[in-house]
Symmetry: C2
Subunit: 308 residues, 2 copies
Amino acid sequence: MKCKRCATKATVQLRSHNTAFCKDCFIFFFQRNVERSIERERMFTRDERILVAVSGGKDSLALWDTLVALGHQTEGLYLGLGIGEYSSASQRAVEVYASAHDLKLTVVRLEEEEDGLGIPEAAFFTRRQPCAACGTFKRHHFDRAAHAGGFAVLATGHNLDDEAARLLGNVLHWQLPYLAKQHPVLQPTHEKFVRKVRPLYRTSEYESATYAFLRGIRYVVEECPNSHGATQLVYKEMLNRLEEKMPGAKLGFVTDFLRHAHPLFAATPDGPPLDCERCGMPAFGELCGYCRLVAEIIRRRTRAVAHS
Amino acid sequence: MKCKRCATKATVQLRSHNTAFCKDCFIFFFQRNVERSIERERMFTRDERILVAVSGGKDSLALWDTLVALGHQTEGLYLGLGIGEYSSASQRAVEVYASAHDLKLTVVRLEEEEDGLGIPEAAFFTRRQPCAACGTFKRHHFDRAAHAGGFAVLATGHNLDDEAARLLGNVLHWQLPYLAKQHPVLQPTHEKFVRKVRPLYRTSEYESATYAFLRGIRYVVEECPNSHGATQLVYKEMLNRLEEKMPGAKLGFVTDFLRHAHPLFAATPDGPPLDCERCGMPAFGELCGYCRLVAEIIRRRTRAVAHS
């Protein structure tokens, strides 16, 4: 098979796009696709400072690499979740990438924050799925770091497979408020929030893994040991079977949703009207969702210690 | 396992409802479920005459049997599609059922209608998928027979699996006009149309097959040799895998759609404003969709004969 762009021998085949590329042309194709997503959805301009949330996995490092290649002003943010060897390996991967490319990186480690709570502890004491607590922690620390650093935009590495699985889950349960918020660009609803964007929403997991590999990025291959929850994996498996039979189906599912259906679901969301009494970030009540969760964990931990 | 209703030995297990029944209690459960669907969606009353479209398969015969048991005024309509031995066997099954229960049945055979066109011929000459032509033919003859017979309602045997697969297909492509029309009750948009209802929309394929078996109904087990199109089967397979992991998921998908999302898609559809010049049924142009299709078939067949 030949590269569709330069006619040399192709090394990457993309069934969903019915095409194939050599190494250099695939890298060009990937970066141009991301650039088009950014422009089409008006995610940000070259004048804006972007905080890239990097986990050490293929997607977020491929995203950071692409944004740098496209000439954007970026800094990295790594959030240490306190999940044993998985977290240590992830932090090393991010630090190696940042220093090799001379990029600014901020590291926030949950264990070293004022509450000293890692994800395993939070999940244990609240008897929640680790992924649910993790989402709340990530949102809080990402928001806070983006606001504190004066960034215009927070970018995350969610890829097409993530977006399609999330959309399928929201549709199978017809979660209207979640469908309203499913968009690659979320405008801030409070002055302490920044714009949140997902520039990889049209590129597949396979494409970002291939990109990271071909660019020589050393990323953490292991998935989080808490996994992404059995449910999300069921949806991904369903969509993988669909994609096998109908290449391009995932991309159509997500882009047709954004074009045709999202406007029906989207109402202008009300932003949080208050400031959290504990952390100062936006809140719907006296405390923000994160501080309510932290308070619950501390209460339960104290009780557990008292009973032990 | 014991019957959840009478505590004798259970013979039917329903994972999607997390329950099990003996033979008699399952039959009661099935009929009551259909009755609740009819009442909840205000499909029809006992004062209205119902035309039941019966194909000879498990679903439509289970539907007819249930409507009779619930005391509704029904007549059957069998449409012979001219698909060889499959159609002959189907007609026999319907006739055997009707005569055993002393029910009135009308048989319309496409080969004997003025156009003399069976489905295989129609598909061949138009180079369409047989299922696409079949849908147009069925809708036309069902509409015409319901109108001619002065029925208030036309009932078809679409089950939960059919509805869920159709919904998934419409959602994967975000077909907004089809999503607007996806409802177990369609009110007539023209005086020559009647109300169309799907009383089995909340009962699964497995349930109607079990019901037909336990009631001793001899139905045609074979699927139509033209199959229901590979696409529909892909969606059914995806949903079967989901249901395996999350029993009840199909039912939730369809009923949550109707409750929460359908109102967002549903606009009042405009009915066809004209009468077809050829058959007199409602039409958007000079001819209705059916007569346009028939004209195309005849034109192509004439040309083929002239060239042979």
